[in-house]
């Protein structure tokens, strides 16, 4: 590794670019006696988007001679300025106004200019995790990964490693589509014998192509293409579109998996379950589709009372610059009041009306108590809840409605499924399905005691139902969904709910009173503190139900969702409809490595309960499953694993097991990683491809649920690339994720790249060709007639645009290439206008619709009874998933057995400190100057009881990690030892540590590159990271505790001890 001085960086950029005319202009100014503040001028500013955490605040990168010199907030965005400036603000004025950023955003320069950045491809020069590397030429790496072979023979390893060329097995889009259809038919067949017959038929029908399958006896595993996996940590739009273009459409693997479940998966998948929409097929059968992986948050701009549940709103929670200002300004004026529900006294307890510290994982008990009180007091929004369909919502001036009044059929006293018209022989409503008039086997409500079947999507006929129904119809016992929720809430007295949660009855009464007082202007904002539990899905569902009962969805000051401008040209049909631009798109099929969005019981792998590992019919992106499943070869072996900007070993609970899964090449033959450094996980990879940091590349960051404005921030190259330059398709470009994938495509001959890479005949020989089209789509807007387009940049703006990029080498910025990638001068200028502002941001006042609703709405049905869950089986117990909000005990294994861990007396928690993200800010020395290490927080009562004192070193041990250490394979062992900090602000019985410290790589330890030792920096190794103490599942043994319903991995339940060392 070489040192990266500014002089060298400048050498990498085009020579002389810095002595351009603007330099002269500045000198002219000096001659007039006024020295300009160079970094504040528009021609020295690039508007981009932060990535120091996932909040993604729009930023201005201020440049000094091509060096990123200072970063501040972009005041055009609602993240950093309040109200944000209008998008048509003059660029000279804009340059003078700085918005607010958090300390990590301010320190981002140190992530990019990290002395431990890698510049050339690294290939391991010892066993995985040995810490020994060699730099190899770019095209050697490309060739090796495409062709495979004895790649490590020089290390005495005679294994033949697989190559991509052998795994690109099924290449014909038509055959793939037909196979996928046949597999769907196999899954739909419930009879095991008939299912077998369909498999035999499949083998006959596709006998020419069986060699392309993983296992012809299990065609639902899909083609060998699926044995290539692409997994990621932090990935946003644009780059994700690029990756899908390559891996999904060109290569044809079904295995693209994100990291959602390590963040707040169960929150997302509760949102998905609640947003599934009723649909009818041409036979009139009701099913559910279109559920979105999303969740709602509070609109802090208008809310009067907010309950933050497990949401660290001052330090995390998407995110501080965006949300804190609303809270401090509005609480100081008396417009906003809030309560914190969190076992740890997060910083936001300062300013809160009340801090409630529940037992971790018992959040739903509080919600059930609140629901009971709201119902007792009649303070639920009965009018809203009585609306059973779209027309009823419309008639009330609401944008959404629930299935609260829909009747649920009971079996053995338990909810089985929704009642349908055919159950009672009721008249069926008619509706068009496609072109056909169909009689719908519709859901049923009771209207003044009379059952009525109705079309939930009807816009003309409002249907209101009776709220409380408990009766028998035609001999069928039925209850309304709301009645079932009530029964659950009334199972216990409020004081009992309080006791379950370990809080005071008065706490629950306080929350309920405030929620009742403010109604639609009161809202519960839930985050990962509630969702990262074995019962996380139901914690989120219980609290989301409170919001639905208040009727605050889509209301100003209520429960709101994110809204983004489209970049794929899908909504406008142009100018670049990316969905139609791939020349030969494959449609991957088959069971994914993490067994998601398919029911175990439907597949040919079904072999009784429990399954070998969990299946996730209602979740996706189950991060903790990727490596252990691959290592175990269930449901099939993986050949090549690509991993991008993630650190599962460091970020996931039970991280040691994630490392164990990576150590053996016989289990996962090839691991190829993309990152800017040798991180704590990619230390165990075979190859690391140097990537561009967030200040050097493209992406479109999107939004967050609390942002009521429609937005789309752009991340774009702001400085010259630090890693090496490479040549692909005859064009020079920086080495990066994109250039490496393009080189793989070139070597393989994958469709969708090259001279005529796009279906419209345009070339795809440089990453710009892709990203500029996305940017142009964003500039064009969402109206086919162009009426939503941004203005064209003036001559002056165009010149500022050029000058601001004069330090970028032609491999990154070449005006003619950018122009040609868009192809139309007018559209190019609109794109320049966009890039000069760093994105599109809706005007401040336009997010508030007249009346009480927000302008950008959810606007659909909200499920309180989850029929899709009710009609699928838990893969481990074989019982249907519970379809309603309920209080389940935490700390259970995947089979539902309660864990006890006698002898381990404390519950381990983690939290975010605003000075670190999880795994990638330890390089930021400015942040370390303020907080050089973390500590283990212990409540003073526990400290006294256990004889622990401030500053004392202790080891964290648990039932599944009794030694209290990280097993890093050949890299050694790292004890989980940290300093005690005695505090009052933590529930007794809990201990907690902030994430981000205790690294073993990312520059924290010595590694060897080309035989030379690269000394680690001890500042990066400080503090403790205790994820490896977190409880492993006793059935799986290779993975941490998991919520089998919502997919979340469990952070907040492990019983531990602190052993003085």
């Amino acid at each position: 590794m070489e040192k990266l001085s500014r002089r060298e960086l400048l050498k990498l950029s085009s020579a002389g670019a810095l002595l351009g005319p603007v330099g002269l202009a500045l000198q002219e100014q000096s001659a007039q006696g006024m020295e300009a503040y160079e970094i504040q001028l528009p021609e020295n500013t690039i508007y981009s988007t932060c990535l120091q955490c996932n909040t993604g605040c729009p930023i201005k990168v201020k440049l000094y001679e091509g060096v990123a010199s200072k970063i501040d907030g972009n005041p055009l965005s609602p993240w950093t300025f309040r109200p944000h400036l209008p998008l048509n603000t003059d660029i000279h004025t804009l340059a003078k106004v700085d918005g607010a950023l958090c300390p990590k955003g301010q320190a981002g320069i140190q992530t990019t200019y990290d002395p431990y950045r890698i510049r050339k491809v690294l290939k391991r020069a010892g066993p995985r995790g040995s810490g020994k590397w060699e730099e190899i030429p770019f095209h050697q790496a490309v060739k090796e990964i495409v062709e495979g072979g004895k790649l490590f023979a020089h290390l005495g390893d005679d294994r033949v490693y697989p190559g991509l060329k052998d795994l690109w097995a099924l290449r014909d889009p038509e055959i793939m589509k037909q196979m996928a259809q046949a597999v769907r038919a196999i899954w739909a067949e419930k009879d095991r014998e008939k299912k077998k017959a369909l498999v035999e038929k499949f083998k006959e029908d596709f006998k020419e192509h069986l060699h392309t399958l993983i296992d012809p006896d299990h065609p639902d595993l899909g083609p060998k293409n699926n044995q290539v996996v692409f997994a990621w940590g932090r990935l946003k739009a644009g780059r994700s579109d690029f990756i899908r273009w390559f891996f999904s459409q060109s290569f044809g693997t079904v295995n693209l998996h994100g990291h959602t479940t390590v963040c707040q998966g169960s929150l997302y998948f509760t949102g998905k379950a609640m947003s599934e929409q009723p649909t009818f097929d041409t036979t009139g059968k009701l099913s559910w589709s279109g559920g979105a992986k999303f969740y709602w948050q509070a609109d802090l701009s208008k809310a009067r009372f907010v309950v933050f549940v497990g949401a660290n709103v001052f330090e995390g929670n998407y995110g501080p610059p965006l949300r804190v200002g609303w809270i401090t300004e509005r609480t100081s004026k008396g417009e906003l009041e809030y309560a914190i529900v969190d076992p740890w006294a997060q910083k936001a307890v300062k300013g809160a009306s009340r801090w409630i510290a529940p037992k971790p994982g018992h959040d739903a008990a509080i919600a059930m108590g609140v629901i009971r009180l709201l119902m007792e007091w009649g303070k639920i929004d009965r009018k809203f809840l009585s609306a059973a369909n779209r027309a009823a919502a419309k008639a009330m001036g609401e944008s959404s409605w629930t299935n609260a009044t829909w009747l649920v059929k009971l079996k053995d006293g338990k909810p089985e499924r929704l009642l349908r018209a055919s159950d009672l022989g009721l008249a069926k409503p008619k509706a068009k399905v496609g072109d056909k008039e169909v009689e719908l086997d519709a859901p049923v409500v009771l209207q003044e005691g009379r059952p009525v079947a109705f079309n939930p999507n009807d816009e003309g006929q409002p249907v209101f139902g009776d709220l409380w129904v408990n009766t028998t119809l035609n001999g069928i016992p039925v209850k309304s969904a709301l009645e079932l929720i009530k029964e659950e809430a009334f199972r216990h007295q409020v004081r009992t709910w309080a006791a379950f949660a370990g809080v005071q009855e008065e706490d629950i009464r306080f929350l309920a009173e405030k929620l009742a007082q403010y109604g639609k202007k009161a809202v519960v904002d839930v985050h990962r503190g509630a969702s990262q539990h074995t019962n996380g899905f139901y914690n989120a569902l219980a609290w989301f139900t409170v919001n639905a009962l208040l009727g605050n969805i889509d209301h100003q000051g209520g429960f709101v969702q994110a809204s983004t401008y489209d970049i794929t040209g899908g909504r406008a049909g142009g100018p670049f409809p990316m969905g139609k631009l791939h020349p030969k798109p494959l449609s991957p099929f088959g069971i994914s490595l993490i067994r998601h969005e398919v029911k175990y019981e439907d597949t040919t792998l079904f072999a009784g309960f429990p399954a070998k590992r969990p299946w996730y019919p209602h979740a996706s992106d189950v991060y903790q499953e990727i490596l252990p499943s691959a290592a175990q070869g269930y449901p099939y072996p993986v050949k090549i694993l690509f991993h991008y900007m993630g650190s599962p070993a460091y970020a996931l609970p039970g991280g040691s097991e994630q490392i164990q899964a990576m150590l053996d090449p016989d289990k996962i033959p090839l691991i190829v990683a993309f990152d800017i450094v040798v991180g704590d996980t990619y230390l165990f990879a075979d190859y690391i491809i140097p990537d561009l940091s967030y200040l050097e590349r493209w992406e479109f960051h999107g939004s967050h649920p609390s942002i009521i404005w429609k937005v789309q921030p752009v991340r774009q190259p702001a400085i010259a690339p630090i890693p090496e330059e490479v040549e692909v398709f005859g064009e020079k470009m920086p080495i990066s994720l994109e250039s490496f994938l393009m080189a793989l495509a070139e070597h393989l001959g994958l469709p969708g790249f090259g001279e005529k890479g796009f279906a419209n005949g345009m070339p795809f020989t440089h990453p710009d060709h892709f990203y500029l089209k996305l940017a142009a789509n964003l500039a064009f807007g969402e109206k086919a007639d162009g009426s939503d387009a941004l203005p064209e940049a003036s001559e002056e703006e165009l010149e500022v645009f050029r000058q601001a990029r004069r330090h970028l080498p032609p491999t990154v910025f070449a005006e003619e290439r950018w122009r040609k990638a868009i192809g139309d001068e007018s559209l190019f200028r609109r794109t320049v206008y966009l890039l000069n502002r760093g994105g599109r941001f809706q005007e401040f006042h336009k997010a508030y619709a007249p009346g009480d609703l927000v302008a950008n709405r959810y606007g659909k049905q909200v499920n309180l009874f989850l029929e899709k869950q009710a009609l699928s089986l838990h893969p481990m117990t074989g019982k249907p998933y519970w379809p309603l909000p309920a209080y389940f005990l935490p700390y259970q294994d995947v089979l539902g057995n309660q864990l006890r861990d006698p002898g381990y007396g404390l519950t381990l928690l983690t939290h975010r400190n605003i000075l670190q993200t999880k795994s990638r800010t330890i390089s930021n020395y400015w942040l370390l100057a303020i907080k050089p290490e973390n500590e283990i927080l212990v409540n003073a009562q526990d400290a006294a009881r256990l004889g622990l004192r401030d500053g004392q070193l202790v080891k964290v041990v648990s039932a599944t990690n009794p030694k209290g250490e990280w097993d890093l394979g050949p890299f050694g062992k790292k004890p989980m030892v940290g300093k005690v900090k005695v505090v009052q602000g933590l529930r007794p019985g809990c201990v907690a540590f902030p994430l981000g410290f205790g690294h073993w790589a990312y520059g924290a330890s010595d590694i060897v590159i080309n035989g030379q030792v690269v000394k680690g920096d001890p500042r990066r190794a400080k503090g403790i990271h205790a994820n490896a103490a977190m409880r492993l599942d006793p059935y799986l043994k290779d993975m941490a505790l998991t919520d089998v319903v919502g997919g979340s991995v469990v952070f907040y339940e492990t019983r531990v001890n602190l052993i003085p060392v």
Binding site: D90, Y116, V1014
Partner: protein
């Protein structure tokens, strides 16, 4: 530079004309700021909960103050709104290229109370720019003095780094630049690009290790003088995510800071020291 950017003579002439025009526009905007004129008209239907970000108000006031030769700067920090995020501390480090060991605006954190009645106190503490600064007489070399605009200045050409002023300050606001770099003892060898950027303190643009630069001298907060003189608010003010820090001309009775220090809940740190700080706190 790229091929298409190396355009023909006509184009380059065009660009020079443009640049000349733009340079003067920028120049004009720097000496005669016009933020109010530069912003598009606000919508006529006021549906917004707030009219404008308080940062805009302060920046407009700053532009007005720059025309007042008798301006005297002051800062107000609302402790109720400080969330202890340290963005101001880091922003200042980046803006002023502070090395290890030097901090201009630390924020202290303190837990208060007993479980479950717990809260926090966060106190940002920049140089107080005292009207009776004890650091000034402590300097044997007359390298530090009180300016007319209220700021306590240090002259890096006169300062010898003797550190006599450091213990004189009751607020611990002064620190010696001992010449360390953030990336020394790493592969960066203290020469990462951000460590080689010029420093803009005290009206000069210098390299840190220049004769007139801050290395081996005593350093402290200067209210981002280089920014305020160009119509820009101090870094700690603009990056405050809780909008807890306010800055402006205390001689202007209509300024936000003048308004705030008339509130009954205003205080200054260590009044008893008689230093008359120009930094006020709202509690």
């Amino acid at each position: 530079m790229d091929k298409e950017m190396r355009a023909g003579p006509d184009a380059s002439l065009e660009r020079r004309r443009f640049l000349a025009k733009m340079a003067s526009a920028v120049f004009a905007s720097m000496v005669a700021p016009g933020l109010a004129q530069g912003l598009p008209q606000a919508p006529t239907t006021p549906l917004t909960p707030e009219e404008e970000d308080v940062l805009l108000r302060m920046q407009k006031e700053l532009e007005r103050a720059l025309k007042n030769p008798n301006r005297r700067w002051g800062m107000v920090i609302d402790l109720r709104k400080c969330v202890g995020c340290h963005a101001c501390t880091v922003s200042c480090m980046a803006e002023n290229r502070l090395p290890p060991g030097v901090v201009y605006r630390p924020v202290s954190e303190e837990e208060i109370g007993t479980f479950p009645n717990v809260t926090y106190r966060f106190v940002p503490q920049p140089c107080m720019q005292c009207d009776e600064p004890p650091c000034v007489p402590a300097c044997p070399y007359n390298a530090t003095w009180k300016r007319k605009d209220g700021i306590v200045e240090i002259d890096y050409e006169l300062c010898v780094g003797c550190e006599k002023c450091i213990p004189a300050c009751p607020y611990d606001s002064r620190h010696k630049d001992d010449g360390y770099y953030w990336t020394e003892n790493t592969p960066g060898q203290g020469q990462m690009p951000y460590e080689e950027l010029p420093v803009y303190e005290w009206g000069k643009k210098v390299n840190r290790d220049d004769e007139a630069g801050p290395m081996d001298k005593v350093r402290k907060c200067h209210f981002c003088l280089h920014r305020i003189e160009r119509g820009l608010l101090p870094q700690c003010v603009v990056t405050c995510i809780g909008r807890a820090t306010y800055f402006g001309d205390l001689e202007d009775p209509s300024s936000l800071v003048s308004e705030l220090i008339r509130k009954p809940n205003v205080m200054r740190l260590k009044e008893e020291a008689g230093t008359k700080p120009r930094v006020y706190y709202l509690v």
